[in-house]
Symmetry: C2
Subunit: 323 residues, 2 copies
């Protein structure tokens, strides 16, 4: 059987022209460009918690990197460098080769280079650290939303949760929709271009990994605000799905990696034009409101309002691993 070192160098050592020193030493070496800040994020994916044992390794490789790049997107950072640590139950070369193929396809698509890593034996676990660059002071933080900002979400949040429900037999989707939802679940697209274009426009941003309401809640918490959302302005429910389930998935389903962000009202037309340019729907779902004592609204309070102006019940909030 090939040794750990051989397997790694066979499948994970590719050219790293943007690094001073790539894999194979105690550390990788990089030199950030002058005047740039670095955005750093780490995410761990665990078999049985984040993916099923029979998940296609190529899709898992893509997703393992994509969920980390999504955090860079949410800061408005350009992906640069990646480190990958993995525990594997055995040295299954076919699995490793397929995983590496998916991982590097995602890296190439978004311009990231794999500069280091670690491999060990253990229950399957994949941990990526992703590093992006952005001009000093330009990051899209969670704490920047202001009163009366528009609240937006990209794409079609909820598809991944519908896809999971379909795979688990909890709902049955028509074939074409099922394919689309399972694809959203297994091969998410980090919204890198959107994040970059929102620099200088958005006052705050987050990627929707825990669910739209939960993640918007993080922005509101950090910014000291509350929000009103309008059901009539939400993305349309996909035809063929069960409307109640689809709405719950839209509000509470994680794993879509769309961006939720806020902008000043004055930027509204810019966002609409950006959606057209990127060919990506951007839905203006509501606005921030005061959470001051006199408003009677606690910080991070979210009201969902129907077409008649009546409040709707808020479904169970996002995904908390230790609840």
């Amino acid at each position: 059987m090939a040794s750990e070192f051989e397997l790694i160098s066979r499948h994970f050592s590719r050219a790293t022209p943007s690094a001073i020193l790539g894999p194979g030493d105690d550390c990788a070496l990089v030199a950030p460009a002058p005047g740039m800040e670095l955005a750093l994020t780490t995410d761990m994916l665990v078999e049985g918690t984040h993916f099923l044992p029979d998940t296609d390794p190529g899709q898992l490789g893509w997703k393992t990197l994509a969920v980390n790049l999504s955090d860079l997107a949410a800061m408005g950072a350009t992906p640069r460098w990646v480190l990958l640590a993995g525990a594997l139950p055995n040295a299954d070369e076919a699995w490793i080769a397929a995983f590496a193929d998916g991982f590097f396809r995602c890296a190439k698509r978004y311009g990231a280079e794999v500069i280091g890593g670690d491999t060990t034996r253990g229950p399957r676990n994949l941990c990526v650290t992703a590093i992006g660059e952005l001009p000093a002071g330009s990051a899209l933080r969670r704490d920047g939303a202001r009163l009366d900002d528009d609240i937006w979400v990209s794409g079609q949040p909820g598809l991944a949760a519908l896809g999971l429900a379909h795979l688990q037999g909890k709902t049955t989707l028509p074939e074409a929709l099922a394919r689309r939802c399972v694809m959203a679940l297994q091969r998410p697209l980090p919204r890198i271009e959107l994040g970059l274009r929102l620099r200088g426009i958005a006052t705050s941003a987050i990627d929707v990994s825990d669910g739209l309401l939960a993640d918007l809640g993080h922005i509101l918490e950090r910014s000291g605000l509350a929000a009103d959302l309008f059901e009539g302005q939400f993305p349309l429910i996909p035809p063929g799905s069960v409307p109640r389930l689809a709405r719950e998935a839209q509000l509470g389903g994680g794993d879509d990696y769309e961006l939720c962000f806020t902008t000043p009202i004055a930027a509204r037309q810019q966002v609409v034009m950006l959606a057209a340019e990127l060919d990506l729907p951007l839905w203006r779902i509501g606005y921030t409101v005061s959470a001051a004592t006199e408003s009677g609204r606690p910080i991070a309070d979210i009201r969902l309002i129907d077409a008649d102006g009546q409040p709707l019940p808020i479904p169970k909030k996002g995904f908390d691993h230790f609840d």
Copy 2:
């Protein structure tokens, strides 16, 4: 039960004055100093592979960070920032608090700040990414050793392997030695100061995590050299240990996190003075030799020579997780 978010913010959010933005957003933000390079490394520690389920969580916290800082030491980098991802089987707050205490004690000792992380449910697994800074071009790489360089190792390699053998009942050490060896195993000291002082002196360096011969082999492999080592110049065998076992631990035992490095002969006196200054033994155990075709020595070939000039058998080489 406290939620994941609460547990994390309670135990892992500390002030991060060296970062622009610390934990709690999609990414952390840092600004490297102008003219500096960054050294990046990631290491994953898995329960059952790297530590036993009943390992003291405080010591494990220390070691989880220390093994990563050791990689920075081996490059000659100053520790700056750390990200910690962990999978835990449950939200055991006492365990988390003790682990965090050990982890932050190590971070404080070596000047690293924890700027981000991820927590999830799963078989216990801890993955750190450590980032250090160093002046451009000053890194101690594995590929820099030159012909006729002295080969050195710091401290007392092999103690950690003896400590593990003692804990496993494979050998019985006298009480004081057992304490010292178990301490070396459970609370390793990354040789940060040594690494920093070796910049401009050493031609190559590596930390001894897989075993002295295996790790020296990585330097030789990358530098295209072979080596002669002299048993009489090795660190003394600790009194009270079984000499054969202690020698095997010294040559093949991992997990000590001493530094092995090479220097030009002209720097010999500087290294001797450095040892005195740091109060850390530095053993000149041999020198590099040619691995050219005419020498008959393959690249990375290591000869171990006894006091009579006779070659000694080389014990089994280091630790390869997938062998």
